[in-house]
């Protein structure tokens, strides 16, 4: 899998997302609770753009009348028909074996780490204090 540096962490605000065209696909990177998640920007149902999805909590109920709310912001609710997916792995919440969104590994690395390696041809001043979001496709 190829690694793509897509953004500085500061470019995707908390609770927000940004879409990147990577290898011919639109991939949406979400910033939720300090973490970054990358998914194909397309609901597997009818193709809705997931960049418009709501990041909601997981709501469970052991019996009618009793409700539990957890994993706040970590469930992706499709902007059209409301299908819910786990933002960590793209699995649907209602039928995880049959429906999932393609998800991609995401890493956050500092400028200093990215600057290392054998292919440094020329040196330029680098703001090594910055963190970068990297998506593997």
């Amino acid at each position: 899998m190829a690694r793509h540096i897509v953004a500085r962490t500061s470019e995707i605000p908390a609770g927000g997302n940004k879409v990147f065209g990577l290898e011919g696909r639109d991939i949406v990177v979400f910033h939720v609770n300090g973490e970054f998640f990358a998914l194909l920007n397309r609901c597997p149902h009818e193709g809705a753009p997931l960049e418009k999805a709501a990041c909601v909590a997981r709501l469970t109920s052991p019996e009618p009348g009793i409700y539990h709310r957890d994993r706040v912001g970590e469930m992706l609710r499709c902007p059209w028909h409301g299908w819910e997916f786990d933002i960590r792995n793209g699995q649907s919440w209602f039928d995880p074996n049959r429906f999932r969104i393609r998800s991609y590994p995401v890493a956050v690395e500092s400028g200093a780490e990215l600057q290392k390696g054998p292919y440094v041809a020329e040196t330029f001043p680098v703001h090594i204090e910055d963190n970068y979001v990297i998506v593997e496709v």
Binding site: R42, P44, H45, G47, A48, W80, H81, N97, F99, R102
Partner: protein, 370 residues
């Protein structure tokens, strides 16, 4: 097997999807602001709207009885970037829906101001007149693809008939819309003058689900959840279809065309089977029917496809389509509402090119005479 969609949408797919021009029988325009209606609404009723607002035949005042899934029942991506509510910005509608889907004609279905549910019939009629004019001025005259319907409240049938006359003279409206939730089932004789006039004018009768007629929306009473209430759209259409057929409306008005909008179509086969079965046993109760109920359904009624049923196995959808009849179905998207159907992906069963052509275009072309 996991239905992982991990491929980009290919250019050829886009081409295939848009090669066939689509007639979309259910597009919802919205009023940007009530003041947009002022030029069409007499001062007396502007004042009434401002001072009294809507009084509806429901037990809930000033709100909808159910939470409606998402604000204004809209897709989250359908809020215009320029502000305003989903469906209120023609340019954005063009960009998001009409142009990319190559919509040849789009039929407007107005739901604003609870147009059919106003308790004050004269106020309701004034709002209907204003919205009928607004449909032309703000939509159809600005984009020739968009087609308006004559909205009439059938419970004030003299007011409704006058409105039909007024609008029909313009030659610009393509159907007459009535409510599925009137005071009585739609087949009742009190509504026949509207059907008679629709037949004479050769305008299809459009019946879009929604609204509240004062009765509980299900035969079992008021539901607890939106999830539950949303199911009732299909029941409402089924009971009105049954009423229209069994009361003899198609028998009495053999050239009348009736289109049920947004009721889906999965329930139709069983409804026809059951009506036919009952007809065999009880035909002496309804001797005015000359044919089996299903024959009336297959000659006089059409159904828009959204919200499409999604059985676990695609072949079951295929069977449903065949049982209903490929010539009965008219594609609709319900743009910009949350249960919108995307023309490319909604039919999760193979259709031949000829079948696609019928459902997405030529059936509607024949019904509405485009």
């Amino acid at each position: 097997m996991s239905d992982v969609i991990d491929r980009p949408m290919l250019d050829q797919e886009k081409t295939a999807a848009t090669r066939l021009k689509i007639i979309d029988c259910d597009i919802h325009p919205s009023i940007h602001a009530h003041s947009d209606l002022n030029e069409f609404l007499p001062k007396r009723w502007q004042q009434h709207l401002k001072e009294y607002g809507s009084h509806l035949r429901t037990p809930y005042i000033g709100t909808t009885p159910y939470p409606r899934s998402s604000p204004l029942i809209a897709r989250r991506d359908a809020w215009p970037p320029t502000g305003g509510v989903p469906g209120s910005d023609l340019d954005f509608m063009r960009k998001q829906h009409l142009d990319p889907f190559d919509v040849e004609f789009g039929i407007l279905q107005v739901l604003d101001l609870f147009i059919f549910s106003q308790q004050n019939l004269e106020f309701g009629a004034a709002i209907q007149r204003a919205i009928n004019d607004w449909q032309l001025a703000f939509w159809a005259h600005r984009d020739p693809r968009l087609k308006a319907s004559i909205l009439v409240g059938q419970d004030g049938s003299d007011l409704g008939l006058a409105e039909i006359e007024r609008c029909a003279k313009t030659g610009e409206y393509i159907q007459i819309n009535v409510s599925p939730r009137a005071n009585e089932p739609l087949g009742r004789r009190r509504y026949w003058p509207i059907y008679e006039r629709a037949q004479e004018l050769d305008l299809p009768l459009g019946i879009h689900v929604g609204g509240y007629g004062g009765h509980a929306p299900t035969g079992g009473g008021w539901p607890s959840y939106y999830c539950e209430e949303h199911q009732s759209n299909a029941h409402t259409v089924a009971s009105n279809l049954t009423s229209l057929v069994l009361e003899g409306v198609p028998e009495r008005f053999p050239k009348l065309k009736i289109v049920f909008i947004e009721g889906g179509f999965g329930w139709i086969p069983a409804t026809m089977w059951r009506m036919d079965q009952h007809f065999e046993r009880f035909r002496s109760e309804v001797p005015h029917l000359k044919r089996r109920p299903s024959e009336y359904v297959k000659q006089h009624f059409w159904f828009t496809t959204q919200p499409i049923d999604e059985p676990d196995e695609a072949r079951h959808l295929r069977q449903l389509i065949e049982w209903v009849g490929i010539d009965r179905l008219l594609f609709s998207s319900d743009y910009p509402h949350w249960d919108y159907d995307d023309a490319r992906y909604a039919f999760k069963t193979p259709l031949t090119e000829a079948e696609r052509r019928k459902i997405f275009n030529s059936n509607a072309r024949a019904v509405y005479k485009f």
